[in-house]
Subunit: 744 residues, 2 copies
């Protein structure tokens, strides 16, 4: 990851090369410190992305101006009028400021001035928000986080027009709006400001940028190094603590996207005002890594919905327009340009201008989506998110394994869980969060109580549940103490593997999981092998849920159905939300379920331990307010077990073509699945319908140098390292047998 | 609708203008009669759509040739190997024939010859298909319909290469394949061939085209006028009987699309061989009207899923590639070109060449989607499908009202039912059919038994159910006898209205329904008003279901929920498939339900008659094989009623923007809904939140000349004709009241 040292110089050259106009007479010391242009009206670029952005902001600010200045007394929770109006106001302020810089049109500056003077009347009168809940009430908004966001945007708008103000107006706005806000968000709420948490990052960015604009070193120092300036808290400490060495943010992709904006925007402000800090090189360039990893943690433009996350959250979001533009300006990595194209947006800043120009000049390169391990924790030793990709395309299969740490209060209890995308769709799913963001009728748009009772619980995920309780008994602060161990990760070639182990999610229970993505010649998409070994200290009930998307088309074993009265599966920890459609007790030979998703079939094939049963269920029980989506899940259940090995294979196959009205390969291409336990390894073998056999040997030891031996069906296997793979062609006679079987 | 009389002449000119090569020496009388080119190898066009089609067919035929000739003994039902292989074979034959004509490459002709010689060995040995079910077994396929389809494609392929064969091969194939097939499909199954039904149309087309190719006038005469050549049955009678004067096919859009292909392909063959018949002018050009109406009966490219229909069926289907190309060649209507562009496909025929050329030359015009009434029945007097469109775009709102006749055996019991598309999505839905086409594990891909027990039943639709029984007691042959009456249809301006009446769906019950689509200034999308009046002869239970798509976000009235044990709503006629989530007894002021679909909110606002209750339910009960999709429905229920008026309004509003994380107008913009019954009219009035009032007066009489008077809230109304609309601006004081209410 390289960074061009001369970013600012190049920006300046770009700007000077733009058509310039007479600089407005700026009062000494009042000019912009965040927006480095050649003076108001100096940017006149017509690159489509930039021109589009300008039009959009002109429309937004125009509408705000036409609606008239409206600074209501704070009253409503998320989605309510006062909430939305204050959001509209910060966007209008931000937009008016940028448009003033670009166009030089003083009307924008005047509008911003008048709006801020209204805030100068209102703000000093405010106490805690009347609709506040939780321990961090805001003043303009129900939670102070939104106040920080308001300030991050508004200070940028203010910076852009501050040099147009009379000294009196400037002082009024400095002293009645921005200084008290910065005070409130820092010393006024140490319980937020001193956290190592994204809420605190927003607060630090808001306070620090305000410090630069107001030329207030004290605010900047607080923002960088905490209220006591010791460095124990503050922005730099957050950069140290909240990102792993791979640029992974511990709360997961959804909040990484959100957190990224104050990190990169404040970093940009630091770089502009204190270039000697070399903030983009800080910690081996971790902020730039964080931008890239956010993009890597998405598929088809949508972020993996791990932890509290909305499934509809994509890279098309303000935070990432900023991050991509700032990242591009800092690196000139042409892969960022293809992200900007997908976004269809950029920022109306010198960095956005660079993006728009270089995109227009055809410098774009595809973003290099690849299999990657994203280690978690400041030292990279608190687990990881493993991403295995069959290819870089948005329809290529992606296996996401969540071996990361708890992720703080928004973390879900899903150690060693997984999800799968295939053909551009999520096929093994994560519910995400139970929330309708900003929909007032849904608890004011906040997290719903079903987020706690369902979405965070282990049974709502694709991992082991012991005795119908969640990992760490559902207590995130306990979960923070213990992370999984990523034992092995290999992303090369046709056999991509992640192995991790979790000890401590349940007392006395250790479990280890290998998930492998196997590319097999002749099969449309890779096959996923799941090997989950559990070692407990006393007999318990083990559940392995699989949440899938699609419509069941075939079940290989007999079911006992509940067609007219569906019981609820359990009473707590998420189980109270599951209706039981049917149960069955499959044998090794018939433990298959096939569903159709889009145009592809998926067969999940298990090797159930003796006595295991399958529960087919659906979410939506005990949900009187219709807060949950209703989605299917299948649960493999083993009762009264101490040690157990769960083996399963998920196989995409076939094509359902509604246009041509043809269907091919609606049945699995796998004839049999076998598993044997060797002395120091597990061996999983797939026999394909065409007679080929594919064997995966997984040693207990992850040491790359160690040699292993095992035997399956009388055949000896020998390999070195954690994983061995053995592909055998079909025997001649078997092939013809298979051919006739296919016709049967 | 104009048709160019010189189609064939123009085609010939086009083809002669193409680069020509030496004509292959064609034996006298053996040359193509269906494919009018200038000889093999004479078509060398590089227009993208045509070149793409050629590549596609080359790939398809290439794969078939590489796989080797495989003509299996018929054995499997839909989706099974022999079924799919015979389908592959007819496509390969068809493709090889066309490619031979285009390329002049004799290898294609030879492949077709060898494949047909295999059929010549197999076919004479065949009796009824071993997996047959129903009363029309095929020989190659489980139902003879598929045999007809095989023949329609294969005869075209054969026609294209027949002049390359030795006299001996030609006679072998004529006599061992095509003549016996034509005999089987006509005199061999009079119970199909003499129907007035799409299965018979396929059979007639197959037999008639075979007649032209074999120069067998007897087969042609049978195809056109029935086995006895009286005209009592046969193709011409089918054209008379199966389309209405508006080109509506009585089974509905899904089967219209399917039926269209034999109609247009055979018509094209008739036109080529017997131009004096002027088949495209027959019955005022009804075949061309039928092509256009098929397209009109779609939204966003997907056919309205009325009757037995798959929701995923679009205009991208072989039948419509053929129909659009043939329709374009016959009319040069440039609107067909935009359909072809959406399809991304055409036919590899002279007609497809025309389409590809004119599309490449930029002659395309948008298809003129518009509000239209599609009358049903040969005389246009058996009801209608009313389509009300807010605009021609694919995101414009479309209201579809099903006032058509039963539609034979694939008809659903849903007189006066409706559905709605808004913002490109179905919001008030029709389940379509319960079927997984060609998915072998789902009953061989046939209609599932849930198609009868759920999908066809009245409660699965958006119309009146009396005493939990379906219209006509669920007997389609009874339903065939009685059609609704379309009393009024007006598609002009901002007030688009359909009124229809049904008498005889239930003994002693008559019901009349007005559905109006009202464009209201300032509202994003039109509001739908539903007025349903029922007159019964004795007390009964009336249910008005509304099947909606989306997630409930707000319910205005208290609910009694069934959170942990959901009862099944009833025991038969579809009610056995509904789980009851909750019930409630709303008042006039609070009878609202709001859901979110995509980025828009929808509020359904009722005026429940006294004592009416609302049932919130979901499909999926008594479905042990997971054959049903699980979808929500709300049912307005009135017990022990004789006369009743049901009034409701469906209002799209607001925006949920997950990218910007903003929500606007998540609450309804309507403050109140009122209804009064006047002497000879119903008056429905909407008060908007901004104080405006909008009143719709609907007279019992549809006479355009008659004058009416009514009064609401002391205000007199006067209008002429069936519908009057009265928009009143907000009073000054009301507006400010409303403004403050908005802020509340």
């Amino acid at each position: 990851m390289q960074r061009l040292p001369t970013t600012l110089g190049l920006l300046a050259a770009l700007l000077l090369s733009a058509q310039t106009e007479a600089l407005a007479a700026a009062p000494a010391g009042a000019g912009p410190v965040l927006f480095k242009d050649a003076g108001p009206g100096s940017i006149r670029a017509d690159y489509p992305l930039f021109a589009g952005e300008r039009q959009r902001l002109e429309a937004l600010v125009g509408a705000a101006r036409r609606a008239g200045i409206d600074v209501p007394v704070p009253k409503d929770p998320g989605g309510g009028f006062s909430h939305e109006q204050h959001k509209r106001n910060y966007m209008a302020l931000y937009g008016a400021g940028l448009l003033y810089r670009i166009t030089g049109d003083g009307a924008y500056a005047d509008y911003a001035r008048r709006l801020l003077l209204e805030y100068a009347k209102l703000y000093p009168t405010l106490g805690p928000h009347p609709a506040a809940s939780g321990d961090s009430p805001g003043r303009l908004f129900w939670q102070s986080l939104n106040d920080s966001v308001w300030l991050v945007y508004a200070i940028q708008g203010y910076d852009a027009i501050r040099d147009t103000l009379s000294a009196e107006d400037r002082q009024t706005i400095d002293d009645q709006v921005f200084r008290p806000m910065a005070a409130f968000l820092s010393e006024g709420q140490p319980q937020v400001f001193e956290l190592i948490h994204n809420h605190a990052t927003w607060a630090c960015a808001a306070v620090g940028m305000t410090g630069y604009v107001l030329r207030d070193d004290e605010l900047v120092a607080r923002a960088l190094n905490g209220l006591d300036k010791s460095g124990r808290t503050g922005f730099l400490r957050q950069v140290d603590q909240l990102f792993s060495p791979d640029g992974y943010y511990t709360e997961g992709p959804y909040y990484q996207r959100y957190a990224l904006m104050p990190f990169v925007v404040f970093a940009q402000a630091i770089d502009a005002n204190e270039p000697a800090r070399k903030i983009f090189d800080y910690r081996d360039g971790v902020l730039l890594k964080a931008i890239r990893s956010t993009v890597q943690l998405s598929q088809g433009g949508y972020l993996f919905p791990l932890n509290d996350a909305l499934r509809d959250k994509s890279l098309r979001t303000d935070e990432l327009y900023q991050a991509i533009a700032i990242g591009y300006a800092a690196t000139r990595d042409p892969a960022f340009l293809s992200v900007a194209r997908w976004q269809g947006r950029t920022t109306l800043t010198p960095e956005g201008l660079l993006v728009a120009r270089d995109l227009a000049e055809g410098k774009e390169q595809p973003f290099p989506f690849a299999s990657r391990l994203f280690r978690d924790g400041p030292q990279g030793d608190r687990g990881a998110v493993a991403v295995l990709r069959a290819g870089p395309g948005e329809r290529d299969q992606v296996l996401v394994v969540k071996n990361s740490a708890q992720g703080m209060g928004h973390g879900h209890f899903d150690k060693l869980g997984w999800m799968l995308y295939d053909e551009g769709a999520a096929v093994v799913t994560d519910y995400g969060s139970a929330r309708f963001l900003n929909v007032e009728s849904k608890d004011g748009g906040r997290y719903l109580k079903e987020n706690q009772s369902w979405a965070r619980q282990t049974v709502a995920h694709n991992t082991l549940v012991v005795n119908e309780t969640s990992h760490f008994d559902g207590q995130w602060k306990v979960g923070e103490k213990t992370a999984p161990r990523q034992l092995f990760f290999s992303a090369d070639g046709p056999t991509r593997v992640s192995t991790a182990e979790m000890d401590g999610a349940y007392p006395g229970v250790r479990f280890r999981r290998t998930l492998a993505q196997l590319t097999i010649e002749g099969l449309a998409s890779p096959v996923v092998v799941d090997l989950l070994r559990v070692q407990g200290s006393k007999p318990a009930q083990y559940d392995r849920p699989l949440h899938y998307a699609g419509h069941l088309t075939a079940v290989g074993f007999p079911l006992q159905s509940n067609p007219a009265q569906r019981p609820v599966l359990g009473s707590a920890n998420g189980y109270q939300h599951l209706w039981v459609d049917a149960t069955g007790t499959p044998q090794a030979g018939n433990a298959t379920l096939t569903w159709l998703n889009g145009q592809r079939f998926y067969t999940y094939r298990l090797l159930p331990p003796a006595g295991a049963k399958i529960i087919l269920a659906e979410s939506g029980a005990n949900d009187p307010h219709f807060n949950l989506r209703r989605e299917p899940v299948l649960i493999e259940r083993l009762e009264n077990a101490t040690e157990a090995t769960f083996v399963a294979v998920l196989e995409p196959h076939g094509l359902y073509d509604p246009d041509a009205e043809t269907v091919s390969d609606s049945r699995s291409r796998i004839a049999a699945l076998r598993h044997v336990r060797a002395a120091d390894a597990d061996v999983v073998s797939l026999e394909l319908l065409d007679g080929r056999t594919l064997t995966l040997a997984i040693a207990d030891d992850a040491d790359a140098a160690k040699a292993h031996r095992a035997e399956i069906d009388g055949r000896p296997l020998a390999w070195s390292g954690h994983v061995g793979r053995f592909d055998e062609p079909a025997a001649r006679e078997t092939r013809s047998e298979m051919a006739s079987r296919e016709r049967r």
